[in-house]
């Protein structure tokens, strides 16, 4: 597809290795991530003790597998019912098409101010940039997203976007925005943001939200949140535009009820989200609030290519963010280092799939995992993320990987010949003895250098205990 906007951020030009090294050296970041991971872990343990999580997860997996199996049919039904309820549905093949639809609509209606609630799909298509380029003002209203927008940063977590910042960092950002001196307590900072963003709700022409899922049975859009900003975004402005990934559909209300219950358990360690907004069409006759127009943009963006492949299960994802918190890699470097709106295990799977295998990030992210499988355990819909990571790795090819492959081919050819095998082992033994001291090689030349840059290699077997 030509002209497709890359999924990755243009501003993360440093290579992954450098970004992770930088993140690892950041003590404040490490402390913030540690606190976030611990608080999620504690809440999650508590909620799993009170609820039959394993059974709920099995049912959730069954639901999502079934929905993705019937995706074309469910999407058609959703589209038909949303239209019947008075909404306008558009299918966007890629990010450009989705952005263009929205900016054209804004221009046609003479809009000047757009209020947004949290949406990963709009991060993916870089909608804010497109809106700003078209000369409009767009304001994120989820507190975490707003802080990041002001700070010129991107979300580091699907559910808790500003989790990498601490209170003082947040305070500095908010003071820079308003020019007011702000107190240091959390309540005051939240109250300040509330007032500032109410100005936006009062005058926005268009509200843009994401979609957690659409219910095909009735053509209803579900937007899950805790702050109340998504309700304001979808209730006050004249026009509501909802952007959803094409995989986010469930069949009926029975399924919807189940997903609505397991999602907050996995996402925030609570057994219910504070608010769930269920929207079926624009405002009905006689109603005094709600949008006059409802537009639903259904984004493909590389998703349909996964249907029927051995990577299809990536579409089951309900974007709860649990695999991020559970991941030892994410907890060490945070989401920013990934350089993609989707970080953590699911991000390492999705980014190459949605963006294409070619880019630097796509070819490296799938390798940023120890394949420990904690992500699979955490996932409320039971996606075998570690298997998917291995499959995506197998698809990625770069020059470095081609070189590795050639080397391994040579090796395997040599070792399938008994004489050559014996010779190579004898030479390696002598080489190691020469390179090592007291049974350990600390720095090897040539192809061994990479290995010994991180760890020592025993030169005798069994190894002598390190001193």
């Amino acid at each position: 597809m030509s002209g497709r906007r890359p999924v990755v951020y243009s501003d993360t030009t440093a290579p992954l290795r450098e970004r992770t090294r930088e993140a690892l050296a950041d003590d404040a970041l490490a402390a913030n991530l540690r606190a976030a991971g611990a608080s999620w872990g504690a809440a999650r343990t508590r909620i799993s003790a009170e609820n039959p999580f394993a059974e709920m997860r099995a049912r959730a997996r069954e639901i999502r597998r079934g929905d993705i199996g019937d995706l074309p049919e469910l999407l058609a039904r959703l589209e038909e019912r949303v239209t019947a309820a008075g909404g306008v549905v558009t299918r966007a093949a890629d990010a450009d098409a989705a952005c263009r639809y929205i900016t054209d609509l804004a221009a046609a209606r003479g809009a000047t101010l757009v209020a947004k609630s949290k949406s990963m799909a709009t991060e993916e298509i870089k909608l804010n940039e497109a809106i700003e380029e078209s000369g409009l003002r767009v304001v994120e209203t989820d507190l975490g997203e707003w802080i990041l927008q002001l700070a010129g940063q991107h979300p580091s977590h699907i559910v808790a976007p500003a989790v990498h910042l601490n209170k003082e960092q947040v305070r500095q950002v908010l003071m820079a925005e308003s020019g007011w001196e702000l107190p240091t307590d959390r309540e005051a900072l939240v109250a300040h943001a509330r007032t500032r963003l109410r100005e936006v709700f009062a005058s926005a022409d268009i509200g843009i939200s994401g979609v957690n899922f659409g219910v095909a049975e009735t053509g209803t859009i579900c937007v899950v949140e805790n702050e109340g900003n998504a309700r304001l975004v979808t209730a006050l402005p004249r026009i509501h535009v909802a952007v959803m990934g094409m995989e986010r559909v469930v069949r009926d209300w029975d399924e919807a009820a189940h997903i609505l219950q397991i999602l907050p358990m996995a996402a925030i360690g609570d057994d219910a989200a504070g608010y769930v907004n269920l929207i079926t069409g624009p405002r009905a006759p006689g109603e005094a609030d709600g949008p006059e127009e409802l537009h639903l943009v259904i984004l493909d963006g590389g998703r349909s290519a996964l249907l029927g492949t051995d990577l299809e299960e990536a579409l089951d994802c309900i974007r709860c963010g649990a695999c991020l918190y559970s991941c030892p890699m994410w907890r060490s470097v945070g989401g920013q280092a990934y350089g993609s709106p989707y970080s953590g295990p699911i991000g390492s799977v999705l980014t190459p799939l949605l963006e294409g295998m070619e880019g630097e990030r796509s070819s490296e992210l799938p390798f940023m995992s120890s394949l420990c499988g904690s992500c699979h355990d955490a996932c409320p819909v039971g996606i075998p993320l570690h298997d998917l990571l291995v499959r995506v790795r197998a698809r990625v090819t770069t020059t470095a990987h081609r070189r590795d492959r050639a080397r391994f081919r040579l090796w395997s050819r040599a070792w399938s010949n008994p004489a050559a095998y014996r010779l190579s082992v004898a030479m390696a033994r002598i080489g190691l003895r020469l390179a090592g001291r007291r049974g350990w090689a600390r720095r090897l030349p040539g192809p061994g250098a990479e290995w010994t840059s991180q760890r020592d290699l025993p030169t005798r077997w069994p190894p002598t205990p390190p001193r």
Partner: protein
């Protein structure tokens, strides 16, 4: 109150309490007084009421007005404009009064259905949210409540809001703070049927 209804309302209030909402079971005769007491505790200067016969029957609006609270009723109240309803102009300590269509005992959720008399924004534009729920509207599970809400013939309601907590955010250091955008306090009065 029938024993199963009592168990359901107990379940609802206990689950909501875990998310820092409050509530009580009251009889019809005491509902208006309980609403007024809550408004006084919050220091509410203006109330925005859903136009619902339940509130009229219980005398909630009259009682609040009698206590000196300004009372607006939807949809007329909408005439004030968003700046005022959002608290940017006029009193900041406001209260939205809703009548949920259903209440869910398991996990504690209110099902608010929008309509001409019941704006979808009443609870979130206000600083506080008082929900008045007739006990007969309690259901055991969310699935049951959603299937019932959407199973009727004809058009589905244009908006249904599930409310299970006061407005909260954990965006600063993952510590939950109330009053992010919606109501800072949520109080539920479960009213025993006459």
């Amino acid at each position: 109150m029938a024993p199963d209804t009592a168990a359901l309302s107990e379940g609802l209030l206990a689950a909501l309490a875990r998310r820092r909402a409050t509530g009580a079971v009251v009889d019809a005769a005491g509902a208006a007084a309980a609403a007024a007491a809550r408004a006084a505790e919050w220091g509410v200067e203006r109330a925005l009421l859903a136009d619902d016969p339940v509130l009229g029957d219980l005398g909630v609006g009259g009682r609040l007005a009698g206590d000196g609270c300004e009372v607006l009723v939807w949809p007329d109240g909408r005439g004030r404009g968003w700046r005022e309803l959002l608290g940017l102009e006029g009193p900041e300590l406001t209260m939205g009064v809703t009548v949920p269509r259903l209440g869910v005992a398991e996990r504690g959720t209110l099902v608010l259905e929008t309509g001409p008399g019941h704006g979808r924004s009443i609870d979130v534009v206000s600083m506080y949210h008082l929900a008045v729920l007739p006990a007969s509207r309690l259901r055991a599970t969310l699935a049951e409540a959603l299937v019932e809400t959407y199973a009727r013939d004809g058009r589905a309601p244009s908006a249904v809001s599930l409310v299970s907590a006061p407005s909260r955010t954990s965006d600063i250091e993952k510590i939950s703070t109330l009053g992010a955008h919606g109501a800072k306090g949520l109080h539920v009065l479960v009213v025993e049927d006459r």
